[in-house]
Amino acid sequence: LAKTTQPISMDSYEGQEVNITCSHNNIATNDYITWYQQFPSQGPRFIIQGYKTKVTNEVASLFIPADRKSSTLSLPRVSLSDTAVYYCLVGDRGSGGYNKLIFGAGTRLAVHP
């Protein structure tokens, strides 16, 4: 099973760019890299997903180097509402080829005024 490692916590200030890096040395060829965000008392929420190089959407960017052994989630100009736990996940296809999510401890991001 692909395992991920990411910082336990990070602090930032409003308006700054935040980069959270995740290591996944054992990523398999068919695995995707997915990031989820979770606020207290809510379920995780999909942010972004990628396979290689760079992916950008209205919320974040995801940078994946050629060896795919790591990835970096970039949040531009964070606000107080971005305070949450961010999970880096690598898709475990299992025997049926489905996306069984393996959650780690996540990174607790605190954005300060």
Partner: protein, 115 residues
């Protein structure tokens, strides 16, 4: 479009009682997953349905847990009899594709407290 809904949002029961959690996935999503987070631990996979069939129940802790998805629509997760260590937040998620690149939509979770 409605998201994944879970009922109840909270449940407090005594040890030895039975509790049934319900999940309504997003309409049209064939894949339905159950996860849970017990206090201080990480979110753990419990099982996965494709329509009404169990594809993977490798994460189910023991035979006190029974999940069903009759007709391939909503799902229930029954805990009988409940034990103290079953306390935690139970999340349901659904997705519409079985590929490794599909996005899973999570419900708000059911917070179960066994006293």
């Amino acid at each position: 479009e409605a998201g994944v809904t879970q009922f109840p949002s909270h449940s407090v029961i005594e040890k030895g009682q039975t509790v049934t959690l319900r999940c309504d996935p997003i309409s049209g999503h064939d894949n339905l997953y159950w996860y849970r987070r017990v206090m201080g631990k990480e979110i753990k996979f419990l099982l996965h349905f494709v329509k009404e069939s169990k594809q993977d129940e490798s994460g189910m802790p023991n035979n006190r847990f029974l999940a069903e998805r009759t007709g391939g629509t909503y799902s229930t997760l029954k805990v009988q009899p409940a034990e103290l260590e079953d306390s935690g937040v139970y999340f349901c998620a659904s997705s519409h594709a079985a590929s490794g690149g599909s996005e899973a939509f999570f419900g708000q979770g059911t917070r179960l407290t066994v006293v």
